[in-house]
């Protein structure tokens, strides 16, 4: 296949994003992490793919590379859409270092849209990392659509999170930490050591069905 005019050789099941990165071509991402299954949520990694089905924009993190695919990673249209996506996200998290860095590259205006009260950008990194790598499910999504948010499950979080907190550094904003502190304050103040054996037992019963 071809990416930005460069011939790239791929074998087996490879996404466009992996193939591009291997060839030294960078594509911006927010919700992607090599340790996790591709998610396709932030859509910042969209590229133009010209293949059997014509030319269209696809999310490179989930689209499988195929023979004779011709990929363009930057164009006026792609940049314009990435800029709008970033502006939509900046309405939630105007101070996120990761977003600010990309905003600079794409000329995104952090004040394009009115500010939103929640600064979670729903990249799902925490939720997926906890489920897929740690296999604990201590944090999950609740609700749907614009009402969706991340939520620590107190019974699991009380047991698992204090000594882990590996998800903290994945969060592109600081909403995750805030959510954790809030759950901790409400459900197990002073840390997991403080919960009584009864509570611990009840928690285990709840989570183990």
């Amino acid at each position: 296949m071809q990416i930005d005019g460069k011939q790239v050789e791929v074998t087996g099941e490879t996404t466009i994003l992996e193939a591009a990165r291997r060839a030294g071509i960078s594509i911006p991402t927010l919700c992607h992490d090599d340790r996790l299954a591709p998610f396709g949520g932030c859509r910042l990694c969209i590229v133009e793919a010209q293949g059997r089905l014509g030319t269209r924009l696809v999310a490179s993190c989930v689209y499988q590379a195929e023979d004779d695919l011709v990929v363009t990673t930057r164009s006026e249209k792609i940049d314009r859409i990435r800029k709008t996506l970033l502006e939509l996200l900046l309405a939630h998290a105007p101070e996120s270092p990761r977003l600010k860095e990309m905003a600079e590259e794409y000329g995104a205006d952090r004040d394009r849209f009115d500010k939103e009260p929640s600064f979670c950008v729903h990249c799902g990194l925490c939720v997926r990392y906890c489920a897929e790598v740690k296999k604990k499910n201590a944090v999950g999504f609740v609700e749907r659509g614009i009402h969706k948010e991340i939520c620590f499950i107190p019974e699991i979080a009380a047991r698992e999170c204090r000594d882990c907190k590996e998800c903290f550094e994945l969060c592109p904003t600081s909403y995750l930490q805030a959510a954790f502190v809030m759950t901790e304050a409400l459900a197990f103040p002073g840390g997991s050591g403080d919960i009584s054996p009864q509570e611990q037992a009840a928690g285990e019963k709840d989570t183990n069905g």
Partner: protein, 642 residues
């Protein structure tokens, strides 16, 4: 009833059934679909049963409760055979007369017939009523002829004949070829060729394959899938078994939304009867082909109508779409090749197999074959479900079948394709209905919703309404849909509230492009359509709202004022008494004045002001004239005392 083990046995069974039925015998058919249920068909049914016995016809007249007939505006609907006399808006108190006159004396009860609203002419026979006359009911037709709880009724009209033909006279590839030749395209929305979809699933490597019925109809106002499933679940089941045979699947699922209890109940009965008769389960009709079906009730999320979200939900996960490719035909339910079609598509399959592809393909346009069922709702005289050949014009559907716009109002636009469809204006009414034609006009076929709007409808508000619905139904997984719709909804709301700014249209266009191009699934990709199509055809309305703070349709509350014309007010007190905000000042012979500060703009004064006075007016984009001076408010003329 014992299991039927061969086609010959089934044909004998059918012959026996028909021999015991006399087509010339009197028969009462009562529509008992959900809409007629709401208008009292249950009570009418009880009255018929009682009255038949009372008048001594308990055994000689057959009484059948069927699924939806489609003319929901005029329910409950009663059809009396063999003459097919059609009575509309029947109530229990009409029943004794219907039975004594029509059944016993063969006399027609005039007042229950269809009356033409303009000429006043009465029509006795169902097929002569304009609503039915211009339709072509091949898929929806059986609804009127069968009791959805009796497989015998379905067999009597030739049911399961297509299954025999497929299983015993055709190879799976021949079945697929026939569906391809018929040119059948998916009725769920996207219009993908069904035969090609089936072929992909058949060719996909793997031993286990699944077939799925999508009955998660979520478009507001659309209820054709529901009505088919409630009125003729046999047809859907037969289509599904044929499809399973063609694809090489032995397991099927029907995904029905929780809100359709009658559909689930009737489908359950149809499955049970099919199993008892050897039409479902192991070794169907002795063919060696095994197939089982399970019903899954969805929790009622709009996005679960999207096929990949539906599969996630079937697997017990949150109903969020997953990226395609891989397409479900290759990797679907539990990663196995899966074929999903919507209810109407499955129900069309037996017709194609039975009558042949050529017959089906002779109906419709070059690229859109057969018929399509639309649910005609909104500002239309004849609300209901209509099945029309593809290629018919929107004008014929709305005016010939739908009877036009009620209350002498003017047609403004028709929204086709559900919430993410588009609005089509009057000058496009001669558009031939088809998948590609509607798409070119900036709308889509969708599942077949058709919402008619009159001159009082504000198109900006329509866009806001549908975007609001979609914002609520977005699953929230991807940014362009979740965040884009959130922002579009905010901007549109601002515009309708008179808080629009210059540049809003361009900003909306930018966000719309992002959602169309970058969303993960079809919900997000099509969600901006209500905005894009209304902007395309009614840009002047957007500009009036933003630049002049004026709503041309006089509909957006924040932009209108109610005003009583002192030259027309007869001081009749009607509006004053009906105003719940006590915003109207006046008295006997004293011209009424609305206190603009107190007015909540509920519009009651406008509605109750007698049309011969027409004194209450809606104003937009212009200041309300100052109230008449106190001394000029008394009406002196025509007073008896004066």
């Amino acid at each position: 009833m014992t299991r039927i083990k061969s086609p010959a046995e089934l044909e004998d069974f059918r012959k026996d059934l028909l021999a015991r039925r006399d087509p010339a015998a009197p028969c009462i058919t009562l529509c008992s679909g959900t809409a007629c249920h709401a208008t009292g068909s249950e009570q009418v049914s009880a009255a018929i049963k009682e009255e038949l016995v009372r008048q001594g016809l308990g055994t000689s007249v057959e009484f059948k409760r069927t699924g939806c007939h489609g003319f929901c505006e005029k329910g409950p609907i009663l059809v009396i055979g063999p003459e097919e006399t059609c009575y509309l808006e029947v109530s229990p108190k009409d029943v004794p007369e219907i039975i004594s006159s029509t059944l016993k004396e063969k006399k027609i009860v005039d007042r229950l017939l269809y009356t033409d609203p303009t000429t006043g002419e009465k029509t006795a026979h169902e097929s002569d009523i304009p609503f039915y006359k211009y339709q072509q009911r091949i898929v929806f037709g059986p609804n009127r002829r069968i009791d959805p709880r009796r497989v015998e009724d379905y067999l009597a009209i030739g049911g399961y004949r297509a299954l025999i033909k497929a299983l015993f006279e055709m190879t799976p590839d021949e079945v697929i070829d026939e569906v391809k030749k018929a040119g059948l395209r998916g009725r769920g929305g996207a219009g993908f060729p069904t035969g090609i979809k089936w072929e992909a699933a058949r060719k996909a490597p793997g031993e286990t394959k699944y077939v799925v019925v999508n009955c998660d109809e979520g478009d507001p106002g659309a209820y054709m899938d529901r009505s088919i499933m409630e009125g003729n679940p046999f047809g859907v089941l037969e289509g599904l078994i044929i499809g399973a045979y063609a694809i090489g699947s032995h397991e099927g699922y029907v995904y029905v939304r929780q809100e359709y209890p009658l559909a689930v109940e009737n489908l359950g009965i149809a499955m049970e009867q099919a199993e008892k008769h050897g039409l479902l389960g192991k070794d169907i009709l002795g063919s060696g082909f095994d197939f089982d079906v399970e019903v899954h009730r969805g929790a009622g999320a709009f996005v679960c109508g999207e096929e990949t979200a539906l599969l996630m939900s079937l697997e017990g996960k949150a109903g969020e779409p997953r990226p395609r490719p891989p397409y479900p035909a290759v990797r679907g339910l539990w990663d196995k090749p899966t074929n999903i079609n919507n209810v109407e598509t499955w129900a069309t399959v037996p017709l194609i197999i039975d009558a042949g592809a050529d017959r089906f393909a002779s109906i419709g346009t070059e690229k859109s074959k057969g018929t399509k069922i639309f649910s005609l709702v909104g500002k239309i005289s004849n609300t209901g479900l209509v099945e029309v050949p593809m290629g018919i014009t929107l004008r014929d559907i709305i005016f010939k079948i739908g009877g036009g716009i009620p209350n002498g109002k003017k047609f403004k636009a028709v929204q086709t394709g559900g919430p993410s469809g588009g609005c089509i204006p009057e000058d496009k009414l001669d558009l031939a209905v088809g998948f590609d034609e509607l798409a070119r006009a900036g709308s889509m076929m969708g599942s077949g919703g058709m919402i008619v709007m009159d001159e009082d409808t504000c198109m900006v508000d329509v866009a806001r309404y549908f975007i609001d619905f979609l914002t609520d139904e977005s699953c929230g997984k991807c940014v362009p849909c979740r965040e884009g719709l959130r922002q579009m909804h905010k901007i549109l709301t601002n515009i309708t509230e008179g808080k629009g700014n210059k540049g809003d249209i361009e900003l909306l266009e930018m966000v719309a492009e992002t959602a169309v191009e970058a969303s993960l699934c079809a919900l997000g990709k099509t969600a901006p359509n209500p905005f894009l199509s209304t902007l395309r055809y009614f840009r002047d309305e957007y500009e009036a709202h933003i630049n002049e703070k004026r709503c041309p349709a006089l509909s957006c509350k924040a932009l209108i004022s109610y005003y009583i014309d002192p030259g027309k007010c007869q001081a009749c007190l009607i509006c004053l008494r009906n105003c719940s905000a006590k915003a109207i000042d006046g008295g006997k012979k004293k011209i009424h004045v609305i206190d603009q500060g107190k007015c909540t703009k509920c519009g009651v004064c406008f509605e109750v002001c007698p049309s011969r006075f027409g004194a209450v007016k809606k104003l937009s984009g212009e200041p309300v004239p100052p109230p008449v001076p106190e001394e000029a408010r008394m009406i002196a003329k025509k007073s008896k005392a004066g």
